[in-house]
């Protein structure tokens, strides 16, 4: 475990090196969020209503602010990295090292995610005094604990999911296309564009049980107290079950893939 924590520390320090890129990224992501918020403000204003589908304007702004904060914990880069390693033949070198590739990639990208989160969080702390009245502040202690557990769960689920897709490179010449297709669907089904409860009623329950809901939708709903702790805990069990399913799938695909792997160019 110590070697993984050491790599976590190293990559966290590396993230701090590119300051211009950091500032640029921070500005870009927040402009996008701001545009979404403006769009929802105009929806509320033009309909002359204080509430749409159970969301007040403050709830909606809080949802998007919190979602964008929680989404920093989606670990997708591991999948792209393993796909590149397979394609370039670099995986051959990694295979002979005395550590698990999956674990190494998890800790590496977790450090990046933590850095992104801290960056985004510090920025929010700076601007929150100016728009505090547009946010809801309903977080209880049990919900806060559950939110943290959800975020940890989200890092594991997203890492396993993306790794699974990245391993498609064992069979496909270019796994990137599969991964980008998945990214589009994931963004949609995780409630990145609109909260999942805006979807048709019949689909909401199914989507809440899907692994994507843990990324930002459920934690944001817990933060806003729109999801009870009991309901949140029940859904957490389902998402933990997803971890086991994805781990088993990863193992199967990894075994089959490494049998086929021929380290081209490596």
């Amino acid at each position: 475990m110590r070697k993984y924590l050491y790599s976590f520390k190293l990559y966290l320090l590396a993230s701090l090196q590119y300051r211009f890129d950091t500032v640029l990224g921070l500005i870009m992501s927040n402009i996008s969020m701001l545009i979404t918020i403006f769009f929802w403000i105009i929806i509320y204003r033009s309909n002359g209503t204080g509430e749409i589908n159970g969301y007040s304007i403050a709830d909606m702004i809080t949802f998007f602010v919190m979602s964008s904060l929680f989404r920093t914990f989606i670990l997708s880069s591991g999948g792209f990295e393993i796909s590149d390693m397979i394609k370039s033949g670099e995986l051959g070198k990694a295979l002979i090292k005395p550590h698990s590739i999956s674990m190494f990639l998890y800790w590496k990208h977790l450090s990046n995610a933590l850095f992104e989160f801290l960056k985004q969080f510090s920025f929010l702390l700076l601007v929150v005094p100016f728009f505090a009245r547009y946010l809801t502040w309903d977080l209880s202690v049990p919900s806060a604990v559950l939110v943290i557990i959800y975020l940890v769960t989200a890092t594991v689920i997203s890492h396993l999911l993306w790794l699974l897709l990245g391993m498609m490179a064992f069979w496909l010449e270019q796994a990137q296309a599969v991964m980008w297709s998945f990214a589009v669907i994931l963004n949609f089904l995780s409630g990145m564009f609109i909260p999942l409860d805006f979807f048709p009623r019949w689909s909401v329950r199914v989507l809440e049980l899907m692994p994507f809901a843990a990324f930002s939708y459920i934690p944001a709903k817990l933060y806003m107290n729109q999801l009870s702790v009991a309901e949140g805990a029940y859904l957490l069990m389902v998402h933990i079950l997803w971890i086991f399913v994805l781990m088993a799938l990863n193992q199967m695909v990894w075994r089959a893939g490494t049998k086929k792997y021929s380290a081209v160019g490596g």
């Binding site: 870009m28 996008s32 545009i35 010449e173 270019q174 599969v178 979807f199």
Partner: protein, 262 residues
Amino acid sequence: MYYLNLLKEQIKLSFMSVAIFRANFALMLLQSIINSVLGVLCVEFIYLHVDSIAGWSRNEMIILYCTSMIVNQLYRGLINPNHMNFIGSVSSGSFDRMLIKPISIIFQINTGSIDYSSFLSLIAPIVILCWKISSLDVSIPRLNVILFLVFLINAVILLTSFMMLLYSFAFKHVRVYGLTGIYFILMSISEKPREIFSYKAVMYAFVFLIPSVPLANVPASLLLSKGNVPETIAAAVSGMLFFLLSTVAIKKGMRSYSSASS
């Protein structure tokens, strides 16, 4: 004629490269189509709960979204791969090769390879747009359709020029990949109604400084008879202005270019 022949050859070469990676091409095409369809679904889901947004009905909003997608896919299919090659060539030093060719630099920066999967995924927004137009209660005059097409071309020229202007910073700062984020923001603003900007001054800033309003709002408004003369003129002026500015910026930037590899 010389440039037309060059374009013909480029189209042929790009097609041959697609033919090699057929599976990847099909998957990328599928991804672009999924992207368009999910975007439309988002709008549909919002309209399950509201009747109109800032005077835009469900079908009108989808027409706006599809217009933005068409401009986006045209840029991504025809121009973006070449812009990426350009900024890559400045940082690697291979821009030298462009300089010694007897072809206009502006032509070389904007043409070369075609991303057929992005280009062909135009079909999805075009089909949805035509379907939504036919669902509207009103008939659309021919003049509106012509104006829509003219301002669609203006939007692609404007987007190309704006991105070229930004990428001209590569001559000074070498690595400018971070600037591609501005493109995504631009497209994200363009698919939303211009009414999100409450103040006229802010709206005009998004015409002349960060030109997102002319990309989809102006053509879609003209198609739906919602446009106004000052905004239409501003969009046309903005297109010409950014084209001139970007040309000057590239020519000026070339003077400060020093080959990175030599």
